[in-house]
């Protein structure tokens, strides 16, 4: 995966300003989950509007098919509506929890034979076909560029060989044994690179995770 350029709209912001922006949105996210627990459809709509574009990007990045990605995102948000109590504020941020719901589903799907066959077929065609129903622009809350900057900065700071295994695993949906096979590396090397890269990532994001 190629990382997109760091968002110029948030360059030049101080770390404290980034933290403030992320803090604000994290507090609001937790409030939305509380309201969804009370079965407030409007809170659900807000959460969806806020995170569906990122969830779609993640699902689409893993499964490589817009239609399947849409299904995965819908499934994940349906799970949020049905079981918002599954979110434990003591264990991390709403956004991270939400993306993990999407990612688990995307990886499950991509590892099934049928999905792999579809990916192979699609790899020979346009990998990002346009969707005529998706004419809307992505108008994000202005704190999300700060989050993107933080994550992209953390990712590019990881040594390339460690970043490569993390990207293949997370965005490619490959297991560590498949990565070892693909890169012709000993499994132990893949494991150690993953661990070192994840330690760095956790450390880099640790100061601003909420």
């Amino acid at each position: 995966m190629e990382l997109a350029a760091i968002d110029p709209t948030v360059q030049g912001r101080s770390r404290s300003e980034l933290m403030a922006a992320i803090d604000l949105s994290s507090a609001r996210d937790r409030e939305l989950i509380r309201n969804i627990t009370g079965k407030d459809p409007e809170a659900f709509r807000w959460l969806y509007r806020r995170y569906a574009p990122t969830a779609r990007a993640l699902a689409q990045g893993v499964v490589r098919q817009p239609g399947l990605a849409e299904d995965i995102v819908q499934e994940a948000f349906l799970a949020v509506w049905k079981h918002p109590e599954a979110y434990d504020p003591g264990r991390g941020s709403v956004r991270s929890w939400l993306m993990s719901l999407v990612h688990h589903r995307a990886v499950d799907l991509v590892r099934r034979e049928e999905a792999q066959r579809r990916r192979a077929e699609e790899a020979t065609s346009d990998p990002h076909p346009g969707d005529p129903d998706l004419a809307q622009t992505v108008a994000e809350d202005l704190d999300l560029p700060a989050e993107r900057l933080a994550v992209r900065t953390a990712l590019v700071a990881i040594p390339p060989e460690q970043r490569q295994v993390i990207e293949l695993m997370y965005f490619g949906g490959l297991s560590q044994s498949k990565i070892a096979e693909k890169l012709a590396l000993p499994l132990g090397t893949v494991k150690s690179r993953t661990l070192l890269g994840m330690r760095r990532l956790r450390s880099a994001l640790g100061g601003i995770e909420r």
Partner: protein, 230 residues
Amino acid sequence: VTRDHSLIEELLAVEALDGLDSGDREALDRERGTHGECMECERLEMGFAEAAGRLGFALDPVPARDATADEILRKAGALGPAHPLTSVRTHERRERAQGRAMLAAAVAVVVLLGGIAIRTATHGGELTAAFSGQANVHLAMTYTPGESGGELDGSGLRDLPAGRVYELWAIRTGSPIRATCFSPNKGDVRVKLGIAVQAGDVMAVTVESASCPTAPTTTPVLSADLSKIS
């Protein structure tokens, strides 16, 4: 006895990325059983899970239809069947509900920005409040409490996508009151307020559709607490 966490840490790092093979999963289950109630394991698991969960934000977002949210709610039985047109009354109720929810967000903004200096100043009978929340944005409101004719003046504001505008709100006794909508010209703005602001108002700027809704629908990006000005 200090336990060795190296194996479980390695497995948890991979699990957070959904990269375990089935054999590794069994190994992780065994390790978890061995460690039992383990604070360090919890800490490692949460740290890796949080970092992995946020990786998705490295990607550029892909547009999603707002209407899908209602389709999901219908699938869950939380909404009735779709209607081609939403009545004005329903729309107004929705906007009021949004306004109530936004109030909490706006208050959170001011509370959380408490650590960041909210610059204020007075000039004779007229007061000036500076907004905080975004770097390199200078936005100030000159006003006399209780009187109309206040003015918003600023520079460095980000251009918004087509169909979006900034909207200024006064949050007063639990309700957001629309003060004005504006679109910056090369980052600059100078606009008269449509209301008379009060000394205790919290002012908040949100990004809204060009129709200038009657209640905020997004998180405030700039704010100023007028109660701190004397």
